[in-house]
Subunit: 399 residues, 2 copies
């Protein structure tokens, strides 16, 4: 008998993937350039040229074994040292290479972090709206995910709900800022209050509560905005970074887990990550990709395209009567749908070749997500489709 657990998981499909598959199918019919595919967070901006150049230079100058030989399971030491310097300089931290574990993107980092700081049956909190993949990350680690209801005012944190749910069984809190799907940034007041509450609860319960910080959009911050460095606020922080967005390389699956040097068991958590990897057949990134990243830590793609796209969409959505908070970063926007059932709303949009993702699976019904990491030209062309959609399906003036 094959595994019951994984066979049962097959029935639950991801709505994001379903929408992306529809977009691909529709693209085969009318040309993909005519499908306004806002479903997936697959960066449109090309990789920085220096990344490709670094690979070519490495291939020409290093030995085969230096490039492709077995790398340490905790990550290549020289790569981790460069990341350490970069983080310490930028965020005034005191990481050493012993606090960095190289991972298969932020997903790999989160999955490892959850296994590091939970024991079977522990609870993990996250905040709606939340990235739906958090559910398998947490639940397959042996812990149990619970969702704190959203702060609908500005997508910060509803502290009354948070405090009520932060019971003694909770050993980890999982946050994401800049935030998918809302584009909100947790501000200093939010982070300070969160740290104070978690510190008080650690003391009250007599055990650690770790903060697992999912930060793939850390560098995707719009002008005038600032993402404070989460780990500066709370010692028991595990930062999960991915180069997917900063370098436009999600397919290469590279990132890291950074353990705050002041965290409990800070010197054990990276070696323990190596033990987790043994059980899952390893999770460390390709050596060539690690080495290329180390050569390009100070570059990022041109993120201004995302801000341009955001402004175009935000202004049009407001003009069309949508209720919508202006994103401060990421490449997502999260407007309220024009009817209560966001799935119905998004299904109607398909007739206009607008591929939007309904918010139900994000734990925050009645909204939809637009992933605008596509070409600006296509965003501009989509506006007339949005207009026709709203005018034909909804009475614009009633909003």
């Amino acid at each position: 008998m094959v595994s019951t657990k994984y066979q049962n998981m097959l029935t639950a499909k991801s709505v994001i993937r379903e929408m992306a598959e529809f977009a691909a199918m529709r693209g085969n019919e009318i040309g993909y350039e005519n499908v306004f595919d806002f479903s997936l967070g697959n960066p449109s901006v090309p990789v920085p040229p220096r990344f490709s150049e670094a690979i070519i230079e490495l291939l020409g100058t290093k030995t085969s074994r230096e490039l492709h030989g077995y790398s340490p399971s905790l990550g290549i030491q020289a790569v981790k040292e460069k990341i350490t310097s970069h983080l310490n300089h930028r965020y005034k931290m005191t990481y050493t290479a012993n606090h960095i574990f190289m991972t298969a993107g932020a997903a790999g980092a989160i999955a490892h972090a959850l296994r590091l700081v939970t024991n079977p049956g522990d609870k993990v909190l996250t905040f709606a709206p939340y990235f739906p993949e958090y559910a398998p990350y947490v639940n397959l680690s042996g812990a149990k995910l619970e969702i704190v209801p959203p702060d609908m005012v500005d997508f910060q944190i509803d502290f009354a709900c948070f405090e009520e749910m932060l019971t003694a069984e909770v050993t980890a809190v999982l946050i994401n800022t800049p935030h998918n799907p809302t584009g909100a940034i947790y501000n200093e007041a939010t982070l300070t209050q969160m740290a104070e509450l978690m510190t008080a609860k650690q003391k009250e319960y007599g055990h650690d509560i770790f903060l697992i910080s999912d930060e793939p959009y850390r560098d995707v911050v719009f002008s005038g905005q600032n993402q404070p460095y989460i780990s500066s606020y709370y010692a028991n922080t595990l930062s999960c970074f991915s180069y997917s967005k900063s370098h436009s390389i999600p397919g290469e699956r590279i990132g890291y887990l950074a353990v705050n040097p002041a965290a409990t068991a800070a010197d054990l958590l990276v070696p323990m990550s190596g033990q987790i990897s043994r059980g899952i057949g390893h999770n460390c990134p390709a050596s060539l990709i690690q080495l290329a990243i180390a050569e390009t830590l100070d570059v990022t793609v041109d993120m201004s395209v995302y801000e341009t796209n955001m402004n175009i969409l935000y202004n049009e959505l407001l003009a069309l009567g949508f209720n919508c908070r202006k994103p401060e970063g990421t490449f997502y926007i999260f407007p309220q749908a024009l009817e209560a059932d966001a799935a119905v709303f998004c299904r109607k949009a398909l007739a206009y070749d607008l591929i939007l993702v309904p918010s139900d699976s994000f734990g925050c019904p009645g909204h939809f997500r637009i992933a605008y990491c596509i070409q600006t030209e296509k965003v501009e062309r989509s506006l007339s489709a949005f207009r026709r959609f709203v005018e034909e399906e909804y009475d614009k003036k009633s909003h």
Copy 2:
């Protein structure tokens, strides 16, 4: 409280890693070229030039999104189709791309395979001597590893022991051929008898027993030898391949799981692998590496070096009085130690800068492993160290 399970694992160190660390330390003292480091299976033969050329050509001809964008979690379709053609042509199989799941090397494939075909508490059998990492692979999947004692005659299978241990709780059998650490190849008679026994037991117990075949050394076969394709013998076979050895790229962590099209639930097992990946934060290889592999499926490194090294060592070991079976493939040889306690034997060898791995952790005491994937020149220089070691520490004539 951090995870008890993973914290406890920190105390058990890998003897292979310990030996490799000693070799590196000693290398700092006397120059690594003077340390006869036979500890690690890190290929010495350079990557095929076409692999590097393929990467450079891809970087020059494909778009950033084609190269580095999100790849499907089951593997890039075009890559899987090429692997399918390659396998079908070479081994007369009928795989489609739906039977291939791209993994982080053979380790990733084995870890996924174990989760696919076991439920919690099931037993998995493997055969001594066995690769020590099988223990965490199996035990952290929720199943339980049991070791069938070795066939000390020729490192095939002791079928009396195997049959006795193949109880109703066993749902998977894990084999490795060409075999680490012995260099033996399971021959046609062994594979036929194994398939017959497992088929009979499936019928008797009324449930599937899967064969998980760990095949990273499939291409490392010496002249006059032949490794039959395992999956041809038994329908319920999951083949776990890695390009680590065929392409000398262990650091790139790329391989695949190939599900026999005649296996039970053959069409479900690859999608289920995708569900497993969700829980561990993904295990699929870097997109650039997948694409480069697809361009170089028909090349391998020059494996003749390993055969040359094997012959040099085998002849010298015989001359020195060692009891030793001639390897048929891999880059390992597994002689009997010259005293009962292999750990003591290997510790004494360190004084001659011979870094050997004692066999206790392989479940077959009294032997040691030599990983001869090093330069032939160094193998030749090591012979006088072996001679001095044996002459000074043991009475050569008594063997």
